[in-house]
């Protein structure tokens, strides 16, 4: 039955066999049993990743997985089994092998370091409408996570069946197991001894039933269309598993810095005048922000890529004024296209046959969305994506300028007048592919096309270099992290929605989707003031940070809630801008290593069972822990926060340096001024502490290093910096500095750490230089004041950095001014430049 061409086989092993599955095509069609020919296939990837596929001619998901199989497979055949070892050596963290039962080839054991970790059992008793299914057993697993997007707890629940089918759910319900806008069919199974991952690569209507017992967890997968394609990630830690998932589906792109600032959105700012007055309001109230957004109403009758002539008559002029403040704008371009002759997008798409077709192929599929009768661009077609990309060129998108970026919404796709508010599952895509096969990837493909468009438009004047795109999409699939940001869609102005935002964002983050956020304040309804403030305080530390509100809500600009609330919101947004150097560094590490920007606590203390179901707090990078407040003060003015770790690694209040022991639960009293944010002992967080109006306005500001020492007085951290907007960093135009404090000496050197997951970099052909410096070094956790503090440059090729004028004062050993109070050492103007190697000694 199997065809093996000799051992060891390269890349993959194939086994052809006939499968008696209830799902076989035409099984009962003529009274005869027709067997569907299937080929089992095993592929090896880097990092011990294995793929098991049943190839049967049904639709296979494309473009989501970018890794190519190129590991060696060793084959060890016996009458009952075939054992296939992942023989590749590149970045092996854990050894893995697949053991396939003969003669069916439908029972597969995946082992990590010779221990069975996952068992795939292809389901031969599927319901009539199901196409593929399997029971996947995670041996020894205690908890299981993943499969965004739905508003449920982080740890998936036994006895629940979750549906993976992208839908525009009006006022989605919390704890509903049905899916909402996006899907990543990824599970991470965890125990104190092992973490593994699996990807069920299928974009059809899919369910996963979770059953837990004492010896592990079983996930029962079923899809109504497509092919059975299972990737196994051997871990063995949560971080390894995440990084393996990022390796498979692509590391996140590095967004431009402005995209990590605060975004102000509303359905809808009424006019150019309104837009500019909101912009002015931020300056008047001294609140930083980077991007102002225009929803569907900025268009001429919901025709995307056009402008309303009455309310937005001079879009270039408006953007010039926003650009003059160093800020950006975003407009929305949804995938439904109004069927209106004379509308250039419709005319061109229509003439070229670029719309999704009706189920019988007889013409364009039609449905209702915002503009009324519409058709949907077939983004699964590469030719449509190429054409769509050209729509973003400045001569095509009239009224757009280089500061204009893109929001793509309703791309589940949302079809108002259709079953489940989405497209006919039999509608035809490019190549005759039925919608049901590609449904969950539709939004992903639009993101891909939009990304290409933003790259394309910047490949020529007025750009001197290509700029990094910024796209926000509502729908997503595995791989979306390569192209843009995601938000949790139409949430509500309720405390419960603020609370659920954390597990929702964490489920995405651990599924390799990095750039995620929830609408501040809640999209539907009007938030009470206390909720709004708490939401700002929490969202300030999430990767994507945007305030947004529904058409029928009251205006919600941060200064509309009285002086005190304005101050609190200002402080919350400023707290984001203060740590932007740290956030930017973490986005870079995500792009380079495939880690996430935020993560659940169990990622960092995988053996601490108290953290397995913890979802009310999250880590930002590896140094900061954030505990959002999602209850009114009248209910409780304190929260219990569990701080994990060891006694040698206490935690510090991020803002005032108060020390907290670990591991321990502390009751933290919360006034309205802030939420609990901690810095882990042994870490260094780069900051910029001057409150400016935008990221652009901060570009010449000096930095601060905030250091929290462990019991041995040690700490380390890094700072990444580049031009913040171009792709030149890919050619080496960046600096990444490593800071290490040990034995009373803080050392700044080049960051050279790599891991098995570090992307290979081309030799540097460009360089980034800066004469920026640290204005302050703050150290938490020192028991006594040093007698003196000295700066000594290790090396300094000032001329090479164009720093002739600043070099002189730091070429000799200097005594530095400092202040020590309340256990906090502040070193004043150390004269330490970013580009240079130096040491600061606490004598």
């Amino acid at each position: 039955f199997f065809s093996a061409t000799g051992a060891p086989m390269r890349c993959s092993a194939f086994f052809a066999f006939c499968l008696f599955l209830g799902i076989c095509d035409g099984l009962w069609s003529s009274g005869n049993i027709e067997e569907r020919k299937q080929e089992a296939q095993v592929d090896a990837y880097d990092y011990g990743i294995l793929k098991y596929t049943l190839v049967d001619g049904a639709y296979k998901v494309k473009d989501a997985v970018v890794a190519k199989p190129h590991g060696e497979l060793s084959v060890n055949d016996s009458p009952s089994h075939m054992v296939l070892g992942n023989g590749q050596t590149n970045g092996v963290v854990a050894k893995s092998h697949a053991k396939i039962a003969k003669p069916t080839f439908t029972e597969v054991e995946m082992s990590v370091n010779d221990e069975v970790a996952m068992h795939i059992s292809v389901d031969d008793k599927l319901p009539e409408n199901a196409q593929v299914g399997a029971k996947i057993r995670f041996a020894g697993a205690k908890t299981i996570y993943g499969i965004p997007e739905r508003a449920v707890d982080l740890a998936l629940k036994s006895g629940h069946t979750y549906r993976l089918w992208n839908l525009d759910v009006f006022r989605y319900q919390l704890d509903d197991t049905k899916g909402i806008y996006g899907t990543i069919p990824f599970l991470m199974a965890h125990s104190a001894t092992r973490t593994i991952g699996m990807l069920w690569l299928n974009a059809g209507d899919t369910t996963v039933g979770i059953e837990k017992d004492e010896s592990g967890i079983t996930a029962k997968w079923q899809s109504l269309s497509g092919t059975l394609e299972v990737y196994f990630m051997p871990g063995p830690t949560p971080l390894d598993t995440l990084q393996q998932m990022s390796y498979l589906t692509g590391k996140p792109y590095l967004p431009p810095l402005f995209a990590m600032g605060y975004h102000q959105c509303r359905w809808n700012y009424r006019s150019e005048e309104d837009t500019l007055s909101v912009d002015e309001g931020f300056d008047t109230h001294d609140i930083p922000y980077d991007v102002i957004w225009l929803d569907i109403e900025h268009t001429d009758g919901k025709r995307y890529f056009t402008w309303d002539a009455h309310n937005f008559p001079t879009p270039e002029l408006m953007q010039e004024k926003i650009a003059a403040k160093g800020r950006k704008m975003v407009t929305i371009t949804d995938p439904h296209i109004k069927r209106a002759a004379g509308y250039h997008i419709f005319d061109e798409a229509s003439a070229n046959g670029y719309f999704v077709k009706k189920s019988d192929g007889s013409g364009d599929y039609e449905g209702h969305c915002w503009p009324g009768t519409s058709s949907w661009l077939d983004f699964t077609n590469p030719a449509v994506r190429d054409w769509y990309a050209t729509m973003f060129k400045y001569d095509k998108y009239k009224g757009s300028t280089p500061i204009l970026y893109t929001w793509i919404d309703m791309n589940e796709p949302s079809v108002f007048n259709s079953h489940e508010v989405t497209m006919d599952i039999e509608a035809q895509h490019h190549g005759g592919v039925r919608h049901k096969d590609v449904h969950n990837q539709y939004g992903f493909y639009q993101t891909m096309a939009t990304y290409a468009g933003q790259i394309l438009r910047s490949q020529g004047p007025p750009h001197d270099t290509t700029t990094r795109p910024f796209i926000l999409s509502r729908s997503f699939f595995a791989g979306t992290q390569r192209y843009g940001a995601i938000w949790t869609g139409d949430n509500e102005a309720k405390w419960s929605h603020l609370e659920k935002a954390t597990p929702m964002l964490l489920a995405m983050s651990l599924s390799a989707l990095t750039f995620v956020g929830a609408d501040v304040g809640g999209f539907f309804d009007n938030p009470e003031e206390e909720l709004l403030v708490r939401w700002y305080q929490a969202a300030a530390y999430t990767p994507f940070f945007r305030g947004h509100a529904h058409l029928e809500t009251k205006r919600r600009e941060p200064w509309l809630f009285g002086e005190e609330n304005t101050r609190l919101i200002r402080d919350a947004i400023r707290s984001r801008y203060r740590v932007l150097p740290y956030i930017y560094t973490n986005f870079y590490l995500a792009a380079k290593e495939g880690v996430s920007v935020i993560s659940p606590l169990f990622f960092w203390w995988p053996t601490d069972e108290k953290l397995f179901e913890l979802q009310d707090a999250f880590m930002l990078g590896d140094a900061m822990m954030v505990r959002p407040i999602f209850n009114r003060r009248s209910e409780s003015d304190s929260v219990d926060v569990y701080l994990p770790g060891s006694p040698s690694e206490p935690w510090y209040d991020f803002n005032d340096g108060t020390a907290y022991t670990a591991p321990a639960t502390h009751t933290i009293t919360c006034d309205m001024n802030k939420i609990p944010v901690f810095q882990k002992a042994g870490t260094i967080v780069p900051m910029r502490e001057r409150a400016r109006r935008s990221t652009t306005a901060m570009r010449n500001d000096p930095f601060t290093l905030q250091i929290a020492v462990d019991a041995q007085g040690r700490a380390s951290g890094s700072l990444y910096l580049d031009d913040t907007h171009s792709h030149k960093y890919e050619n080496g135009a960046y600096i990444h500095r490593q800071f290490t404090l040990q034995d009373g000496t803080l050392k700044a050197t080049k960051y050279t750490r790599t891991s098995a997951y570090t992307a290979t970099q081309a030799p540097a052909t460009e360089a980034f230089t800066t004469n920026l410096y640290f204005e302050r070094i703050r150290i938490y956790g020192l028991s006594k004041a040093p007698a003196a503090v000295f700066l000594e440059p290790l090396s300094g090729d000032f001329n090479a950095y164009g720093m002739q004028d600043v070099g002189a004062d730091i070429q000799t050993r200097q005594s530095l001014a400092f202040d020590f109070s309340n256990g906090m050492l502040t070193i004043r103007k150390p004269g330490a430049y970013l580009m240079l190697d130096w040491t600061i000694t606490l004598a």
Binding site: R266, W267, N268, Y269, R270, S271, D283, D286, P288, D295, I296, E297, G301, K302, D308, H310, N311, A324, K325, G326, K338, W370, P371, G372, N526, L551, E552, T553, K554, R555, R574, R578, E689, R690, A691, R692, R693, T696, A697, M698, R699, N700, D701, E775, R776, R828, K829
Partner: protein, 378 residues
């Protein structure tokens, strides 16, 4: 004088002086003491920002300190910008003093001229509007008398009908009784309508007789829902004609996108006159005092915006419910100007705000000096 300077922290010498004067007090959040070479050295030593009045080092340190444009030369010195906007690459001061030399063009001349022009126009307009206001106040006297008379008449008629009803009841004249009851109801409703103006006309107009003539007028404005509420969940955004009848009601009617064969759109009541917006309801004693005050000094006093009794905003409540929402409500804010409705907004579901310009809202203290004062903003 010295304390004022300390608060302003405008100048280096002032900051230093303040440090000498107040810096010794550890309790007060006053300026802290730093060595002279640490003043304006681009490092924030003082939480209140007092050591860095001319750098951005203390921006966001929790201090409300601001940068003063114009090197202290009046009137340009009066523009204050947040410290974070100092040396951030964006020109905020008209003289460019917030950015390095020769970064920003000097636009103060233009600003000054624009302000002068604006003030000249405003001056001319206000002179006219204040005359109109006096006329309105004259009309207002008759207008108020009119209401009082109407109420008295309605009350008289009502009483008369009630008497008749009693009589017919006794006489068992059923038909006549019902007729009298019908009339009584009519007068009662007239009286009720007047009661919308509350018991005293002076209270209705909040003492502002010049506003009374508005009660017989209605004002219109046509706007598209994209503009007045930000958009529409429907494919087409429609135009609406709004009618504001002060002291009576506010209505709207859809005037675009009406398809042939469909029922014509109906007028929708957005709100019925409910009184003036009050920040806190005044006590009975306060009401009496205010009325007395206004009765005595009406002609001499100006319209006082921003007082606790905010008589600038009219409230209309109990409108028809919008789809899936609460009853509509309306706020109409009076602004000084010619008599016209200038703006409509729906801010939040079923909540409408209008701006109504009337000379009745103009006051003498609004008349600008033709020369800009020192505290004018640049």
């Amino acid at each position: 004088m010295l304390l004022a300077l300390c608060r302003s922290q405008a100048l280096l010498w002032a900051a230093l002086l303040c440090a000498l004067l107040v810096g010794a007090d550890p309790v007060a959040q006053g300026p802290c003491q730093v060595p002279p070479q640490w003043v304006n050295d681009d490092y924030c030593d003082c939480a209140d920002g007092s050591d860095e009045p001319r750098t951005a080092a203390c921006a966001g340190s929790g201090s409300p300190a601001t940068f003063h444009c114009g090197q202290g030369v009046p009137p340009l010195s009066r523009r204050r910008i947040p410290l974070g906007q100092f040396a951030d690459g964006i020109c905020d001061c008209c003289d460019g003093s917030d950015e390095p030399p020769s970064t920003c063009p000097d636009t103060c001349g233009n600003h000054l001229q624009a302000l002068k022009d604006h003030n000249a126009t405003l001056h001319a307009n206000l002179t006219q509007w204040l005359v109109m206001r006096s006329q309105l106040a004259e009309e207002g006297k008759e207008c108020v008398m009119g209401i009082t008379q109407e109420m008295e008449q309605a009350n008289e008629q009502l009483q008369k009908m009630v008497e008749l009803m009693k009589q017919f009841q006794a006489e068992e004249q059923e038909a006549a009784f019902l007729q009298a009851y019908h009339y009584a109801q009519h007068f009662k409703s007239q009286l009720d309508l007047r009661k919308h103006y509350a018991a005293s006309p002076l209270q209705v107009f909040d003492g502002h007789l010049q506003l009374c003539p508005l009660r017989t007028q209605c004002f219109h404005i046509v706007d598209n829902e994209k503009h007045f509420r930000g958009g529409s969940a429907e494919p087409e955004a429609h135009d609406y004609n709004f009618t504001v009848c002060p002291f009576q009601h506010v209505t709207q009617i859809q005037v675009s996108g009406i398809k042939e064969g469909e029922d014509p759109p109906k007028s929708v009541v957005l709100g019925i006159w409910a009184g003036w917006e009050r920040e806190t309801p005044p006590s009975e004693e306060e009401k009496k005092m205010r009325i007395k005050e206004l009765e005595e000094a009406e002609s001499a006093r100006g319209f006082r915006p921003g007082t606790a009794q905010n008589s600038r905003t009219m409230i209309f409540t109990g409108g028809e419910s919008c789809w899936g929402g609460p009853p509509r409500t309306v706020r109409v804010t009076l602004r000084c100007g010619v008599q016209q409705l200038t703006q409509v907004r729906e801010n939040g579901k079923c909540t409408y705000t209008f701006e109504l310009e009337t000379p009745g809202a103009c006051t003498h203290d609004m008349v600008p000096d033709l020369m800009p004062e020192e505290d004018d903003d640049f």
